[in-house]
């Protein structure tokens, strides 16, 4: 009696069971595809940020060398801003994408670069 109940149970519940198994398989596949896509996106996005900051760092280092020899008061102000920019770039946590102030600090670096880059106006 118990055996025939199990057999009918298997037939009646087949639809739901296959649905559940299908969902599970799909979920797992989606999960791994998502991780791959996420990694690709992360690589791209990370590279963009790295490239941008690298550009600022190169610019700042070059200007620091150029201004090193000059001694006017204006240049010392520029030097101070340059040192500040270089400091911000060095402090930036390149290996922690979950850093909560990532975008805030990035904006500060961009702002500092713009300030240094904008020549004095006359």
């Amino acid at each position: 009696m118990a055996g025939s109940q199990d057999m009918f149970d298997a037939i009646v519940m087949a639809d739901e069971r296959f649905h559940g198994e299908g969902y599970q398989e799909g979920y797992e596949e989606g999960n791994s595809l998502g991780i791959i896509e996420g990694r690709q996106y992360g690589t791209l996005h990370g590279a963009k940020i790295g490239s941008e900051i690298g550009c600022y760092q190169g610019f700042a280092s070059a200007w620091r060398c150029l201004l090193h020899s000059c001694a006017t008061e204006k240049d010392s102000k520029k030097m101070k801003a340059l040192e500040s920019l270089i400091g911000m770039i060095q402090k930036f946590p390149y290996d922690d994408p979950t850093y909560d102030k990532l975008h805030e600090d990035l904006d500060k670096i961009r702002g500092k670069f713009k300030q240094v880059y904008t020549k004095s106006c006359r």
């Binding site: 102000k77 904006d107 500060k108 702002g111 713009k114 004095s120 106006c121 006359r122």
Partner: protein, 339 residues
């Protein structure tokens, strides 16, 4: 209500164009207007009428959105959609462009001079606020680029006595900045408006700030210093700002400008419903919870959106307004009896 605001005259300041902004010089004798025709015009009185004394053309390639006089009255700054800010030097009736400040990535929306005369602030659709320092030789240097807002920044204004800067944005917030160790930082964000904040005005004492918005309200914010009596929490040594009053239900469209009279404390608003309104604080109201009453409402002050209202700094009750219809209007405000 209608009689509290009387029309003194109108001038077609920027024909076939919009007039975007007005600024009285510190002496109250000249009014600068700017518009979509890329020009700045300087207006002065001749007898009973207002005449155009100078036209500043050849300065900008696109709309001039705001103008601001330096505290000494010898310089005028103009902010333009062409992404530059021009500094004009006044020589009697002539103005000469002495410097062009570049750096913003797109439309400059506002410019303001600090009361000390040594600092200038600009803001732009590029979401940034720039602080510039000017030295004795009229050289301008950018001392800070602030990327705190997340959207278009519409207006910047300086505190009347402290070196404190406020900005208003399409991101619905007002931000406050001060100098900290040779750099400028955003130390407070005022949230509450439900849409774009278009303009700001400090009260004569600088303790309160009025903001106006696309959400059709005016908000009054009050500064609380650390260890204040009212027990308002502050973080560290920075003052805190709290919204102490909201004027809602008075305006039927976006409020584009708010002006706080430095002589009388009256608050004027410029609205997208073509009307000008004036509010006065109830003298008996609690300073921590002030109430304001509508003392003047002039519908159809202009035939289109009113973009700016400006109180004359020396003559009580003299108010100028300008509109998308290209006109500038002059008004006399009388506080109604029984207020």
């Amino acid at each position: 209500m209608k009689d509290s605001l009387v029309l003194l005259g109108r001038v077609p300041a920027h024909p076939d164009s919009r007039c975007w902004f007005l600024a009285w010089n510190p002496a109250g004798t000249l009014l600068a207007s700017c518009g979509g025709d890329r020009r700045v015009r300087i207006w002065g009185t001749e007898g009973d009428s207002w005449i155009c004394k100078s036209v500043l053309s050849e300065g900008h390639q696109r709309t001039v959105r705001k103008v601001a006089w330096s505290p000494c009255g010898n310089y005028l700054a103009s902010a333009s959609f062409d992404a530059t800010t021009c500094i004009w030097k006044k020589n009697q009736d002539d103005f000469e462009c002495v410097t062009t400040l570049e750096g913003h990535e797109n439309e400059v929306k506002s410019v303001a001079w600090a009361p000390s005369g040594n600092l200038l602030a600009t803001c732009s659709r590029d979401k940034s606020v720039w602080v510039w320092e000017v030295d004795e030789e009229d050289e301008y240097e950018c001392v800070s680029v602030l990327n705190s807002h997340t959207q278009d920044v519409k207006h910047v204004v300086w505190h009347p006595s402290q070196e404190l800067l406020a900005s208003a944005s399409y991101d619905d917030t007002v931000k406050l900045y001060r100098e900290e160790e040779d750099d400028w930082v955003c130390y407070a964000t005022l949230e509450g408006h439900e849409s774009t904040v278009w303009s700001l005005a400090f009260d004569p004492s600088g303790q309160r700030l009025a903001s106006c918005s696309d959400d059709r309200t005016v908000r009054i914010w009050r500064q609380y210093l650390p260890d204040n009596e009212q027990g308002v929490a502050c973080s560290g040594s920075d003052p805190s700002w709290k919204c102490v009053c909201t004027l809602s239900g008075f305006h039927s469209r976006t409020i584009y400008d708010v002006a706080w009279c430095q002589l009388t404390g009256a608050l004027a608003t410029a609205c997208g419903d073509d009307a000008i309104r004036v509010f006065e604080e109830d003298p008996s109201s609690d300073p921590q919870q002030p109430t304001f009453s509508l003392t003047a409402h002039l519908p159809q002050a202009h035939s289109q959106d009113v973009n700016c209202v400006a109180w004359n700094p020396k003559e009580q009750g003299l108010l100028a307004s300008c509109s998308d219809d290209g006109e500038v209007a002059f008004w006399k405000y009388h506080r109604p009896e029984g207020i």
